[in-house]
Amino acid sequence: MQHVIQLGATALQIGAVYILFSLGLTLIFGVMRIVNFVHGHIFAIAALVVASLLPRLVEGGFAAPTAYVLASLAGIGAALGLGALIYFFGFRHFQRDLVGSFILSIGFVLMLDGVLLSLFGGSVRGVPEIFPGTLSVAGAQITMQRLFLCAVAFLMAAILYWALAHTKLGKALRAVAYDHEAAMMVGVPYGRIAFLGFLIASFLAALAGALLAPVTIVSPVIGTDYLIKGFIAVIIGGLGSVPGAILGSFFVACIETVGGYYLDSSYASIAIFTLVIVVLLFWPKGVLGRG
């Protein structure tokens, strides 16, 4: 029983990260109809800035939690800046153009690979634990750092879900996602809404980067694995669907956890890709995708 609880806790922890990541991807696709491979680099730059700044701030006399908050703000700021640049000089001109945005996206990825490697170096950076300690739940072990990450991820998912349903911006985002021409005809400023949607998605990726920095391997290539898993989650759940992204994230996390435990990590990866094939065969637009 204990290992079942441990596996459940592990799936929840991993799922929380994938949720933050896939929410951004699905939001961008829903509003702009583009596939954004740069999402992983926006995530990576936030994690790298946190990993670079945090030790310096701690050495400078700041308490670890204060230093973490400051470094996270800087990381999120840098990621939002990068997101804004990419939008204005790139994706703004390729909205609702899948092929064009795909090629542009790959170009940005190649360029940013080099830039991040040059700026931060290739070596892995260590980030000290901010919330030390472990919580034992019915024999299952969860670190406080992971617990904090889960809480923030679920809170952000809830806020986004609520905001999309109840705020003016949320309603505009949904209107644009359903039918951007009809939305513009009733006065929704599409360009501004698309930019804000892109920034919100970048913010979610940056937040995930800042939260994950103390518990993962921070290097310039950190975003790649999360990007692949995030895309799988949104494909399973349905591109453009927020509940679909959450559902898909949990699917991926559960298969990764249970498959990795009972079989072998390599087989778990194969199982995830097999699941994508099965989903695409029976639900070409994803489980919760719109027709």
Binding site: G122, V218, D225, A268
Partner: protein
């Protein structure tokens, strides 16, 4: 008179162009097939740094004297991205476009296999740090190994660990799911069994994985006395040991290809303590020379990490080539390959070494490098055993 003056001026002008060319030293291009991007970029950048360091030192010492001419080395690093597809492109670029006849060093079993097949057909001499045993042997007379590989390290490392922990009679193994991991795993399983250690499980994982909790949960569930992470890169290994620590597992930890404490500590923190490694190099002891310290300091400034055995191989290969070229009095790769097993040269580790390996591989193609067993103790990498083969 006017014509004579013009002719003289033309001759002077021409000779001023020709003279420096005639006096210039010849350059021998050394191709490097290394990862310069992605997770293993730090190894490739360190390899490039060490190749350049050795090339500069050799140039300052007067270069390579062959047949009355002076030659110098120039390093040409190409990014193989640690995979076979890019390794093939790099091989074609280096051999067909750049026309290199020597590979000063190459990294990654899969990309090196791609390089080796093309190089052998063109008579190009290849140095490699790749761990794959299939790259060695009498079928590959132009390939030489510039770093200890599982064939050298594992018998020494695993026997040392088994003897130090006589009560530990079971091990769980994990390796990356690629050519390096598979070849390492095959040998390590045999060596553990030979040392009367029971292999409970031997799993593989995909490089680039970032969430290691399920892997750690599976390994811990076997309750092994030891966990051997084989060819897992140090940063991944640190993350796995950290998750194992959270789950309460506390046993003997081994990373066979472990090259340094930096990556391990960055992700593992305190959980990295106690890890045994087979390819680590320390720069803190009394035996470390000023030259080693100075080069390591420069390397840390450039790549952000201490040097390791992978990168040092790219320094040693240049001195080996210099010695072989001077002994053969030729820069033809076949003549140099014939000469290499019979020369000794200065290694970065200190002292003069040569090549060996006839007993294992059928020919002397392995540098006779010290096998160093290190362990992370109180956050520092310490040498705990050294064997000169």
């Amino acid at each position: 008179m006017k014509i004579q003056l013009k002719s003289t001026a033309a001759i002077v002008a021409l000779s001023s162009l020709v003279a420096p060319a005639a006096m210039a030293e010849e350059t021998i291009k050394l191709g490097l097939s290394v990862p310069l991007s992605g997770a293993a970029a730090v190894w490739g950048k360190g390899a490039e740094f060490m190749c350049e360091t050795a090339a500069d030192e050799i140039r300052e010492d007067g270069g390579i004297s062959v047949g009355g001419e002076t030659y110098n080395f120039a390093c040409l690093p190409y990014d193989n991205k640690y995979n076979a597809a890019e390794g093939t492109k790099v091989a074609q670029a280096l051999l067909n476009r750049e026309g290199v006849r020597y590979i000063g060093g190459s990294l990654g079993t899969a990309p090196v296999k791609a390089l080796q097949s093309l190089a052998e057909r063109q008579g190009v001499l290849v140095f490699t740090v790749a761990w794959g045993a299939s790259l060695k042997g009498t079928d590959h007379p132009m390939t030489f190994t510039q770093m200890n590989t599982p064939g050298e390290i594992l018998p020494v490392l695993l026997r040392y660990v088994a003897e130090r922990h006589p009560d530990a009679k079971s091990v769980a193994m994990l390796n990356p799911n690629d050519a390096t991991g598979q070849e390492t795993e095959a040998l390590a399983s045999k060596v553990w069994t030979k040392n009367n250690v029971d292999v409970l499980t031997s799993d593989f994982y995909e490089r680039g994985t970032t969430e290691f909790q399920p892997i750690a949960a599976r390994l811990a569930s076997m309750n092994p006395a030891m966990i051997d992470l084989g060819a897992t890169p140090p940063a991944d290994a640190g993350a796995i040991f950290k998750e194992l620590d959270v789950l309460g597992w506390d046993g003997v930890k081994i990373v066979e290809v472990g090259t340094g404490a930096d990556g391990l500590k960055a992700t593992g923190g305190a959980a990295a303590d106690g890890v045994y490694m087979g390819a680590g190099v320390t720069f803190d002891g009394d035996t470390v020379t000023d030259h080693q310290k100075a080069v390591n300091t420069r390397a840390k400034e450039r790549i952000g990490e201490s040097l390791n055995a992978v990168q040092i191989g790219f320094y040693d290969s240049l001195y080996a080539l210099k010695a072989a070229m001077e002994k053969a009095d030729s820069i033809e790769p076949e003549a140099v390959a014939d000469s290499l097993p019979r020369v000794t040269f200065r290694t970065f580790y200190g002292g003069e070494i040569g090549f060996y390996g006839t007993n294992i591989y059928g020919r002397d193609q392995q540098m006779r490098l010290p096998i160093i067993v290190t362990q992370v103790r109180d956050g520092q990498l310490e040498e705990v055993a050294r064997l000169i083969p």
